[in-house]
């Protein structure tokens, strides 16, 4: 899969035919979540690469299939980084990290992926391509579709592109030590379960009307 229009076409086709899709990055963590009831895979592995990097604005935009390794190496050349350090393979993708809201030790000081993402491109279950957020570090224009998609495990849309907040590695630890937050664990992810069933199911119906995006990956608890 390559590019928003191709992803959108694939999703529209699957929706029309009622074929469920398993959304996959590089497939380094396929046992995550509950098992997906889908034979067909939509892989974002080849939809990779950094699209825009503005070191002085401290923002970077990359396709979902970009590996964390590539992102880290690119930013390191300017002595910068993004606060994404989930457990697991450094060849895992940016898209999967954000879709699962996976975090590591950096979260105690900098927050989870939810605190890093500034903008996105997402293909919804009806094939619509949406672009919430932007490339600025502060933005409250419109309802927050970005937070909705982070940690939704691909069930509300397929994230194809992400703009992130970038940080300098020169930042002094002792100027931020007092900001350390209590985290439930040193690493983790957003649990793929359905809580608040009424609202959550209403969201699923609206964002995945054909029920084709990673069906089954979210456990029902209520």
């Amino acid at each position: 899969m390559h590019g928003d229009t191709e992803v959108a076409a694939a999703i529209r086709e699957a929706g029309a035919a009622g074929i469920p899709l398993r959304i996959v990055g590089r497939g380094t963590w396929l046992n995550a979540g509950a098992s997906v009831a889908a034979e067909t895979t939509l892989s974002l592995r080849d939809d990779a690469g950094i699209r825009a990097y503005a070191p002085d604005d401290l923002t970077v935009t990359a396709r979902a299939g970009t590996t964390l390794r590539e992102l880290t190496e690119t930013l390191a050349r300017r002595d910068q980084w993004v606060a994404l350090d989930p457990e697991g393979d450094p060849d895992g993708t940016l898209g999967a990290t954000v879709a699962t809201c996976s975090y590591g030790a950096a979260a105690a000081l900098f927050g989870t992926p939810r605190d890093q993402v500034l903008g996105m491109t997402v293909v919804l279950g009806n094939g619509d391509i949406i672009r919430p957020g932007g490339k600025v570090v502060k933005n409250v224009a419109g309802f927050d579709l970005i937070r909705l998609m982070i940690g939704a495990w691909g069930t509300l849309g397929v994230i194809t592109e992400i703009t992130l907040r970038v940080r300098s590695r020169a930042m002094r630890g002792d100027s931020i030590a007092h900001m350390r937050r209590q985290m439930p664990a040193s690493h983790g992810y957003r649990e793929p379960v359905i809580v608040n069933a009424k609202i959550s199911n209403a969201l699923r119906q609206r964002f995945d009307p054909f029920g084709i995006l990673n069906p089954g990956i979210m456990r029902d608890v209520e």
Partner: protein, 485 residues
């Protein structure tokens, strides 16, 4: 069909909250016709002020059964017309002001929505902790309003905005159902409904209580005033500081117009009135890191052309430097009867260019634009003082503001960094987002408020809501509270 003894919604509301807390007369409703942004006046059909959580739930359930629309309102300091009720019920939440729990061991506090931001911090001070987001309106605005607007403030550069400091909330949905979202212990499960609710501008229901994250006070704080003869030098210094890796706790910009207004007011802070611009820069952390970072900041300012960099030597001096900044909008209020405070964001490297454009737009419309803003985030606040009684001025102000917003959009920015879309910025939403994105925003709202009864007509233009438009017949028209049942 007239029923013999029709009970009006107003009467039923009185039965819930008491006579004193339902307002219907024009003279008393006048106070609720605007928020912090001048130029809009909308008359609520009535105003109701519940005194407890249970009363609030009862009120919203009553409004649900009668299909009545309502607008939640905190302190009414909002700057986008978000809390205006146009012939619908205004639901005031300022009486819900209990701090329910302060848990220092777990670094969290749970408050009712009407708790005033600064009141919470006053309460927390003796524990050496604080609630970080600090809108300049902190002395008046409520935590409920802060959550609804995803409010920012000068110190959000380092500490993050409201979104980054809320752990959980209890939400009263417009249909009267009560729902817990988020996790007080910081866990994450299911869709991030809390993240979606923060910044929803009253359109997803009412926050009944809010659990906020607390932050330890830094051991040391240093505040400096850097004085520049040229605006471009100040913006260059800003970029240099951001690029250096130092993340100041705050990095605020004020131009000459703002400096003069502040210095002529009772909030005079000792700013140099001949400066083209000043930066107010604060660093915090440990004693050592603060000194080291302030040294970096000082030398970057001097290299960028600052005339002087003065570091406050005691707390009184520091507070005075801040007072001028925090009261700048208030001081501008002296210039003319009305003040429009604008809010937009641009990538930080575009600051120099955009300020020149804003200046030129002001000139060509015969208006003076004063700039005071959060430079570190690229979050602009161009402000214009004017006389709303003069139609020609009103039109010029409107045209100038549209031109400024368009310039920010063209520069790759956003139409609001912290004040929200509300009513005022609706026309810009279609310039910033395409139709599918706006339709998805409507879908998100519809999951919480399918009938659009909570703060109707705000944030996303109604014509962008496909589903909403597709089935108008399926919906009963929203009723007004004055209609008899």
């Amino acid at each position: 069909m007239t029923e013999p003894a029709a009970t009006s919604v107003a009467e039923e509301l009185r039965a819930i909250v008491g006579d004193r807390f339902v307002l219907e007369r024009d003279a008393v409703l006048l106070a609720y016709q605007s928020d912090g942004l001048p130029g809009y006046h909308k008359r609520p059909s009535l105003a109701v002020f519940p005194g407890s959580r249970d009363e609030t739930i009862e009120v919203v359930r009553l409004l649900a059964t009668t299909g009545t629309s309502f607008v939640p309102r905190g302190a009414g300091t909002g700057l986008s017309g978000g809390a205006l009720a146009d012939d619908v019920v205004l639901l005031g939440l300022h009486r819900l002001k209990a701090v329910l729990d302060v848990d220092i061991a777990r670094m969290r506090a749970t408050v009712e929505p009407g708790v005033v931001n600064a009141a919470l911090n006053k309460r927390l001070a003796r524990h050496g902790v604080f609630y970080a987001p600090d809108p300049s309106s902190e002395a008046a605005c409520t935590i409920g309003g802060n959550v609804a607007e995803n409010a920012g403030g000068p110190h959000c550069l380092k500490y993050g905005v409201t979104l980054n400091h809320i752990l959980a909330a209890t939400v009263l949905l417009p249909d009267g159902e009560v729902m817990e979202i988020g996790d007080r212990d910081g866990g994450m499960a299911g869709y991030d409904l809390l993240g979606a609710f923060i910044g929803s501008e009253g359109c997803f229901g009412v926050a009944l209580d809010i659990t906020v994250r607390l932050t330890r006070r830094p051991a040391a704080v240093r505040t400096a005033l850097a004085d520049f003869a040229h605006v471009a030098d100040a913006t260059r210094a800003t970029s240099a500081i951001i690029a250096s890796g130092v993340v100041p706790a705050a990095l605020e910009f004020m131009d000459n117009g703002t400096i003069r207004v502040v210095e002529e007011s009772i909030f005079a802070a000792g700013y140099p009135i001949d400066a083209a611009a000043i930066l107010l820069i604060e660093v915090d952390g440990s004693e050592e890191s603060s000194d080291a970072e302030m040294e970096v900041v000082r030398s970057l300012c001097m290299e960028s052309g600052a005339r002087t960099v003065r570091v406050a030597t005691n707390e009184a001096e520091r507070m005075r430097l801040w007072q001028g900044r925090k009261k700048a909008f208030g001081a501008m209020g002296r210039l003319a009867p009305n003040l429009v405070v604008q809010d937009a964001v641009i990538p930080r490297t575009q600051l120099t260019d955009i300020l020149a454009q804003i200046h030129a737009i002001g000139d060509s419309h015969g208006l003076t634009v004063c700039n005071v803003f959060h430079a570190g985030d690229g979050n602009l606040h161009p402000n214009i003082s004017y006389d709303a009684g003069d139609p020609d001025q009103v039109e010029r102000v409107h045209d100038a503001m549209s031109a400024i917003m368009q310039a920010c959009i063209t520069a790759g920015g956003s139409i609001t960094g912290e004040h929200g879309v509300g009513l005022d910025k609706l026309p810009y939403m279609t310039k910033l987002f395409d139709e599918p994105t706006l339709a998805a925003m409507c879908d998100l709202r519809n999951a919480f408020d399918p009938d659009h009864r909570s703060n109707p007509g705000k944030v996303v233009p109604v014509h962008s809501c496909r589903e909403w438009l597709a089935a108008p017949a399926a919906r009963a028209p929203a009723r007004r509270a004055t209609d008899a049942r």
